[in-house]
């Protein structure tokens, strides 16, 4: 079985983002970019499934401009067997179009499992996995915190983090899984593997070659700073705190 993993290049999670003065977006030039942390977890899960013998190939895929090839090199260095880069140019691509591109790639690659991060930490959309599952009419296990694959029965048992607890689903393969933080701890790429990754193949497509029309039915009007909370007062004792909460804030 083959596993397809979608990865996204985003502003590194440790960077404090700054809104551009012209309100067109956040500053991304001269800012460290990395693989979206949820995508690292998705890739790690795929690699572990391959290492357990339940899959034999892991293919990493990304959609975005030329620089996204770096993210695929990282995926290859972590252990993906090969990679696919759909170069959609510099303009941002909405999750709906990304889903259509992924559907087209699924038709090319015929994987048994498509794993994605539950959301990207830039636009925080949390949509792509659900949307591609809908387009493919595949079952979906979103926000997974545990995945157990039964190769003989061709099913995946997925534990999901939902409001108020953990839900368990059983999905027939092929299926889509999106990853939550607690699924695993992603590995680091070692130097020898980074060297090896340089000779692995990245196949390129354009959306046109996959017969996908990029649709933009949602426009960004402006991006602004959130209102700042001003720091309050430091109280000196529990008595003063209880008094303030009772008589000033009136929340007790």
């Amino acid at each position: 079985m083959k596993i397809l993993v979608a990865v996204k290049r985003v502003v590194d999670y440790a960077v404090k983002v700054r809104v551009k003065p012209d309100k067109s977006g956040v500053e991304t030039s001269n800012v460290k970019m990395s693989m979206n942390p949820f995508c690292e977890i998705a890739l790690e899960e795929a690699l572990r499934i391959r290492e357990s013998g339940a899959a034999d190939e892991v293919v990493a895929v990304t959609v975005g401009p030329a620089q996204c090839a770096d993210t695929l090199r990282t995926a290859l260095a972590m252990g993906a067997d090969r990679a696919v880069h759909v170069d959609a140019g510099a303009a941002p691509v909405l999750p709906l179009s990304v889903s259509k591109i992924l559907r087209a790639l699924v038709q090319v690659e015929q994987p048994g499992l498509l794993i994605l991060g539950k959301q990207a930490i830039d636009d925080d959309c949390n949509q792509t996995g659900q949307m591609v599952a809908g387009l493919l009419k595949w079952p979906q296990g979103t926000f997974a915190s545990k995945v157990v694959l039964d190769k003989a029965k061709q099913v995946a048992t997925v534990e999901r983090e939902v409001d108020g607890g953990l839900e368990t689903l059983c999905l027939d393969l092929p299926a889509v899984i999106t990853t939550d933080l607690r699924l695993n701890q992603p590995r680091y790429a070692t130097l020898p593997n980074i060297m090896k990754a340089k000779s692995k193949v990245i196949k390129k497509f354009t959306p046109e070659e996959l017969n996908v029309e990029i649709k933009s039915d949602l426009e960004v009007v402006q991006v602004t700073e959130p209102p700042k909370r001003k720091a309050g007062v430091i109280v000196s004792s529990v008595d003063e705190l209880v008094d303030k909460l009772k008589n000033e804030a009136r929340v007790l």
Partner: protein, 329 residues
Amino acid sequence: ISTLVVAEHDGGSIKPSSLSAVEAAVAISRENSISVLLGGSGPNLGKAALHAASSHPLISQVLVADADILMHPLAETWAELVHLVQQKGGYSHIITASNSFGKNILPRAAALLDVSPVTDITEISEPHLFVRPIYAGNALCTVRYVGKDPCMMTIRSTSFPLHSDLAEPKSDAATISQVDLSTFNEESFGKSRWLKLASQDTERPDLGNAHVVVTGGRGLKSAENFKLLEKLAEKLGAAVGATRAAVDAGFVPNDLQVGQTGKIVAPELYMAFGVSGAIQHLAGMRDSKVIVAINKDADAPIFQVADYGLVADLFDVIPELLEKLPEKK
């Protein structure tokens, strides 16, 4: 303008988060014809429909989809249900709360309808103009939907609070009608099976809707010490929350996590004990009305957003609070 609210119900009542979605529908336009969709089976479904019909004066219709396959919130069936209801109703907007139910279902339904959904809306300026947080709330993005109908969205419940006058059920209840499921597209059904839900049974209020939240961070040091917080929560009628650091350290389960990757809360009173104030945690609680921080470290970033800060050892403060706080009426 007509809006379909995809709602959840529990124990014979429509959930508060779904009523927030109704409030969001009202924010789109006062002249909005609002239909509420409920699904499932059994006697609680009928009760919930009655409750929904009289829960908000601007709800005009309650649609009931009664089928065993809708018992569990599987995205495969629910997305097809939304698709089916939209085909018949031709709504201009479809709304659901941005929780694990809504986020799982709505994007899938949007893909079936070939439109781009808008996630996590916190403000509705015009029927197609919305504000939503990005980068974990470190920036706010105003977006305009320019596609075909329906405009599909998930809303943050905390941004659309319920109006208190809703406590009185109104007399002229909305009409209740059954959804005709004879044309249900069952192609993707049966490929996923719901096995179980392991829930934490608790008497305390739900984290997402509680008026008071007490949260513990890594400073609590152990799962055992979280019991102290639980006592405090009981006294205050509060929900217990935790930081990602406390969850990662194994002190508490992940469904208590407050933050970008956990729950977004906006209670009247938020009390943080031993919480440093990481960006991703602040993203989950910055809209709270009054924030209190108790931390030994005077330089902890949490103090920059707290209305009241107390630099002290939480293990001294909690017992003292237990003694000095008034009993919850």
